[in-house]
């Protein structure tokens, strides 16, 4: 042992070869940027052209039905992306993300209800359901619903704040794994029951509907529909870049480290609570934005959006597409929802069986989802 003292002083005595340390990876690869630009063009140029300019008889015409469907699926894709940040990267399976989505939707819905003005069935200043319940004035929590700016802020703030408070107590108490999932599930279920009640002031089980206009502009015109579609697409792409940036930073690597070995992370001097709370809140706010974009496009929001099954579906989209890849869950949301809109028309009674079988198949045979399969093919082909 005396003869080899190289380890004792490796830096000073032995001249060592220059070591290439890996630099920071780019936000997107060259091919990634190309695909991104194509996606932007598809959403912002091609879709409006095909829908508004190409005449309806033409084979290239994008029907209003397709625009509505794609717009809806893009909202779902934002949800799946948010789910990937918290589940795929941080290893925390949330079965309550539908709640944050619905909260964002309700905030937007309240604004849209106020925009109806006196054109409701009862010709009152108050929303119809309040007149029906014989309420004389707006409840306190509707105070900011006339302001569009306040609505935009609340769309982020309400889900963010609720997620923050819930997450703070859950993460501080070191609730993990399946227990956390069950509690989030219970949280969204409890919220659903609360929103079903008439006296909470959210329209009970009918929720909000019959929206007329947004910012004073009629909501049901082709132009507005297309605008919302483009806005949703751009939001999805923007969130994708944001998520890339988060994941690529050291922050993202700490998240993955928490997923793979939380105690090691703690003994490295990191407090996991702050990291989990940050990504959990960011994820919830993304869901809120998705909900706010969803409601004006589908024209209705009611408590069934908070049902546990909806939240579970989000997890399925992420799993089918491929976790911890960002692009995977987006693909998963399109594939599963595309299949859903086709199957529920063609074979309505089989949809749930199909969904269950899909989830089992993915879990058993495709642990890395569609993206993992594509990567394997690519590697096999080379």
């Amino acid at each position: 042992m005396k003869t080899e003292t190289g380890v004792a002083a490796p830096a000073e005595s032995v001249p060592r070869p220059a070591l290439e340390l890996p630099g920071r990876s780019a936000l997107l690869s060259r091919a990634g940027w190309s695909a991104f630009v194509i996606a932007v063009l598809l959403v912002c140029v091609l879709a409006p052209l095909l829908n508004l300019v190409v005449p309806e008889g033409s084979a290239l015409h994008l029907s209003d039905y397709a625009v509505a469907l794609l717009g809806k699926i893009m909202c779902y894709a934002i949800l799946a992306l948010a789910m990937d940040l918290i589940w795929g990267y941080t290893g925390i399976l949330s079965l309550g993300h539908g709640l944050f989505f619905a909260l964002g939707g309700y905030v937007m819905g309240m604004y849209l209800m106020r925009q109806i003005g006196r054109e409701g069935n009862y010709k009152s200043d108050l929303p119809d359901f309040m007149v029906f319940l014989d309420w004389k004035e707006l409840p306190w929590h509707w105070a900011l619903s006339d302001s569009f700016v306040a609505t935009l802020v609340l769309v982020l703030l309400v889900p963010g704040l609720i997620a923050f408070v819930f997450g703070y107590f859950a993460f501080r108490s070191r609730i993990k794994g399946v227990y956390f999932s069950i509690i989030t599930q219970a949280m969204t279920f409890a919220a659903m029951l609360l929103f079903f009640r008439n006296e909470t002031g959210f329209g009970g089980n009918n929720g909000f509907t019959d929206f007329k206009r947004i910012l004073g502009i009629a909501i049901a015109t082709p132009g507005m529909r297309m605008f919302l579609f483009v806005l949703t697409g751009c939001t999805l792409l923007g969130f994708f870049l944001l998520a890339r940036a988060l994941v690529r930073a050291k922050f993202g690597r700490v998240l993955q480290a928490i997923r793979d070995g939380e105690s090691r992370v703690m003994f490295c001097g990191y407090s996991p609570v702050g990291y989990k709370l940050a990504i959990w809140t960011i994820s919830a706010m993304m869901c809120g934005v998705a909900g706010a974009l969803y409601v004006p496009q589908v024209g209705i929001i009611n408590p069934s959006e908070m049902s546990p099954a909806n939240s579970i579906e989000i997890a399925i989209w992420a799993a089918v597409g491929g976790r911890a890849s960002l692009i995977g869950p987006i693909v998963g949301a399109f594939v599963v929802n595309g299949a859903k809109s086709w199957l529920t028309v063609a074979y309505p009674e089989f949809w749930l069986y199909f969904l269950g079988a899909l989830f089992i198949a993915v879990t058993l045979f495709l642990p890395n989802g569609i993206v993992g399969l594509a990567r394997r093919w690519k590697r096999g082909g080379q």
Binding site: V7, L19, A257, D260
Partner: protein, 291 residues
Amino acid sequence: MTPDLLDEGAQRRDQLQAARVSGRTESGGRQAGFSRIALPGEVDVTHGRILYLEDVSVSFDGFKAINNLSLDIAPGELRCIIGPNGAGKTTMMDIITGKTRPDAGTVFFGSTIDLLRYNEPQIAQMGIGRKFQKPTVFEQLTVFENLELALKTNKGVAASMVFRLDSAQSDHLAQLLHTIQLAHDVNRLAGNLSHGQKQWLEIGILLVQEPKLLLLDEPVAGMTDEETARTAELFLSLKGKHSLMVVEHDMSFIRAISEIVTVLCDGAVLAQGTLDQVQADERVIEVYLGR
């Protein structure tokens, strides 16, 4: 008064004077006086002890895992801990690192920091690094990312979002990668390393945090003889700069690195001394052979 007695007296006076001037006495010299300033977060080792456990007890469901354990470690010391299974070695490390709260007793880091008041991340940031019995590295990250993550920097959330490696840190990482012999595996996923390499990577994760005290739970388990020998060299080179507490079962490894060996049994110190002294101790022979 004979001349040699006079000489002896003069020598003793010189030594005392020298010790006073250098500020190094058994009790910590002048710096250990009452008027010294205790800096928060700074480890105070003027009294010559970096880790100090006294009368620590902890029981799980009635089973006394640690039973009135008292133990202390000097700065720069390499202390080996041995003991039969269930002696409380890992539990002791759990207590020092904040994972387990003891029922009674005191645990001090230096003479001013009461470790029982802090949690795991805080204790890690103060400078106590820990290697687990089973090598735990971040399997889905590369070797480089593993080390970069552990690097001693601001570990807050906001700081992690804008973190960039500066040149001093990259030099440090490059040097460390050579020390742990993983320079050629920088971009490999940690999960694909061999068992011995994972052990080394975990030691690297500790060292990159620049800890003052390292707790190493069975660091050479599953290593080849050559890897074990290299680990022994590494630890000997760390001695002096860091304080180390090594729990091991491999006696030849302990013989290679140890000065003082502490034997734990049933949650308390059974014997302490050089390996030869300890191995000759009747009680130690009894607990090892009597079971």
